[in-house]
Symmetry: C2
Amino acid sequence: MSTIVQKFGGTSVGDAEKIKRAAEKVKRAKEAGHRVVTVVSAMGKSTDALVRLAQDISRDPDKREMDMLLATGEQVTISLMVMALKELGLDAVSLTGWQAGIITEPVHSDARIMEINTNRVEAYLDEGKVVIVAGFQGMSADGEITTLGRGGSDTTAVALAAALKAESCTIFTDVTGVYTCDPRVVKEARQLQSISYDEMLELANLGAGVLHPRAVEFAKNYQLPLIVRSSMEDVEGTIVEEEASMEQNLIVRGLAFEGAVTKITIEGLANRYDAMANVFSSLADAGINVDIIIQQMSGDNELNVSFSIHTQKLEEALNVIEKNCEQLNYRSIRHEDRLAKVSIVGSGMISNPGVAAQMFKVLADEEIAIKMVSTSEIKVSAVIPEADMVKAVESLHTAFELHAQPEAKVTLS
Amino acid sequence: MSTIVQKFGGTSVGDAEKIKRAAEKVKRAKEAGHRVVTVVSAMGKSTDALVRLAQDISRDPDKREMDMLLATGEQVTISLMVMALKELGLDAVSLTGWQAGIITEPVHSDARIMEINTNRVEAYLDEGKVVIVAGFQGMSADGEITTLGRGGSDTTAVALAAALKAESCTIFTDVTGVYTCDPRVVKEARQLQSISYDEMLELANLGAGVLHPRAVEFAKNYQLPLIVRSSMEDVEGTIVEEEASMEQNLIVRGLAFEGAVTKITIEGLANRYDAMANVFSSLADAGINVDIIIQQMSGDNELNVSFSIHTQKLEEALNVIEKNCEQLNYRSIRHEDRLAKVSIVGSGMISNPGVAAQMFKVLADEEIAIKMVSTSEIKVSAVIPEADMVKAVESLHTAFELHAQPEAKVTLS
C-alpha cells in the first residue's frame, strides 16, 4: 500500500468547522486505500495569540521559552483533528513533533530537521491508523522542544514524506495551486498544472509565497512529488516535480515580483582582495539579507558595488556600513529606494539565450528604467521603479504568453 | 542548600499580571537561598476553553486526545512563567511533564505517577536555575502524554518534592490557609497554623477543597511538610505535617460539611455471605461512589443496608439495584434525599471517647435528626436534614470552641 503525506496550514484548520472539513479530506485519502500521515499547523490566529501573551510578559522573550510556548499551538490542532476523524469513524492517533521522531538541531526558533525516526509513525500506520503529526516542531537530541521557523509545517510534511518514502506530499492551502503570476495583480494569471522544483524554488524565493523554499528544496533532494491544492474548493492543484521541465515549449513558466526594494551603492572602495568580503560579512553579521549584488571596476582602479535590500533594513544597513567606514575604506555611499524587483522564471531559459533580451525589450517598450539586473540559469530579475511594477508585470505576462499557454497535458498523462 | 517546591494553581496564574506576581514569590524563595522548583497549572479558565474546543468537535472526545489537548495548558504557563522570571533577572528554565521525568501509568485522564526521574531537574538546579515544571501531566513508559486528573498539579508538586527530598512543598492558592470550617458559612471560622496529614485527609475528603487528597497522602507517605498559603496576600499559611497532632488540647481541629446527600435503604436482603459484596460491586461497576454504609440485621434474620450517595447519582443507583433485583434478592428499597453530612475531625479524638457523644448532644439540643452516623479514628460524621446543615455546623463550631482555640505556638516554634 502506498503512503501519502498531507499538510493543512493554519487557515485550513482555523476553527472547528474547518477542522471537520479537513478531516473529510483525510478520510477520502484513507478510503482511497492509502496509508495516510497528516501534518497540521496551529489553528488560524492562535500563534498570534500566544505571541501576544508572551509580549504581555516580556518585550524580548527567551527563544527557548517561545518554542515551548508556540509548540502548544500544533499540539492543540492534532488532538482536535483526531477527534474529528474519530467522529467520522476513522482510527487515528496524534503525535507531537518529538513523539513523531523529528530530531532537529539544538537551536531555537529556526531549527533544521537533522533526522526522522519513523518507527512510531510506521507502527501506527501498520495498525491501519491515520497518523496526525504536529507541524513546525521537533526535539533536539538532548530533549529540548524546538521549532522550525517560517514555513515549518511544510518542511515537516515534506521531510516526513521523504523519510517514509511516501508516494507524494499534498499541501492543502488557501489557494488552488501555483499561478503564472499573482492573480490579485494580473487578471490573466493562470493556474499551472505542473512546475519543476527549480522553477518553484525561484518563484518561492521571489515571494510567490505558496510553498516554503525549504520544503521545495527538500522535495527536490528526494524527488518527492509535491501537490499544492485548495483545502476549501474541490479542484485539481498544481504538481511540483522534476519532469515538469519536459514541457518543451514552456520558456517562461511564471513571474514573480516584490516591492519595497532599496538599492545601495558604495563607491570608491579600495581595491583589495577582501573588500567585497568585508562589506557583505558586516551586513550578514547584522542579520541584513542582501539580494542582488553587482560589482564594477571604475577606470581608475576603484571598486564600485551595488546591492539591493528590503527597504525596511535601509537605515540599519547604512549604519553598519558607516560604522565600518574606516575598515571598509570607501569614498561615498548612496541609495535609491521605492524600487521593485520583477522576475521571469522558467527551465526553458537554459537553452534560450534570448529570453533576457526579450524581457529588457518589453520593459524598454514600456519606458521602464532598469536599475539592476540579475540572472540565473532559470531566472532573470530586473530592479525597476516601484511605480512601474504592476505595468511591468502585466506586460511581461502578456509578452511571454503566460495566460495563453496550452497546458501541456502530455507531461502529466 | 535546601530544595523547596512551590505550586501555583490556575487562579494564581490566571493572566499576565498574576504570573508576574507569582514570579515575584518565586524570586523571593530563590533569594532566600533555596534551590527552587515551581509547579504551575494551566492559566485560569484556559482548560475550560480547551474542553469547549473539543466539544465543538466531538461529544465524547477520545481520552488519549483529551490528554494531548489539555497538556498544552500547563505548557503555556511554564513558558510564560520563565519569561516573567527572566524579566526579574532570574535564570530559569521550563520543563513539560515528560521532560521533568514524570512517569505515569499508561492510562489517560486519571493516571497515577509511577516514578520520577529527577536527573534533568537536578542538573538544572545544580546550574543555579529555577526549574518551572508543568503540573497535572506526565508521560507513560511508552511515550504517551498522560494527565493526572483532578488535583493533578498538587500531586505533581508533592511527588516532585518527595523525589527531590525537598525541605517542604508550598501550595499557593486563592485562600490564605486551612480553616476550622468554611469561613463563608461560619463567620467565626479561624485559620489553623498547623494540621496533621490525617486530619487534612479527612477534611479534604469531606470537601474542604483546599488540597487534593492524593497530594496529602503522598506528602504523608514521605513525611513532607506541606504549606498552604495565599498567592495574593502576603500572610502566613497553614502547615500540614505529622507533628501537628502534638497539640494536646486540640480534640477537634476542624469541621466539614456537604449537602446533596441521599440515603438509600435496601430492606429484606437475603442473608447470604455475598449479599453486601453484590450490592456494592454492582454500584462500583456503574461508577457510583458510596460514602457511608450501615448494615443491620433485623429480628427475623433479614439484612437491611443503608448507604449514602451524592443526590445526583440517585436515579442511576436505583436503576442499578432494580436491574439486579433478582440476583440481589431483596424485599424493598427506599430513599431519602435533601440530606447533608456534617463531620468533626481531629487527631485528639483517638483518646477521647466522649467526642462523638458530645457531637450528638449538640445536634440533639438543636433538635436536629440524625439519619446516619459514621466514625473513624479521627472523625465523626452525621447525616442530617440539609435544611439543618448550617445551624448544625455553627453550633458544633461553637460547642467545640473552634473559634476560640489558642493557636498552639509551641508546636511550631
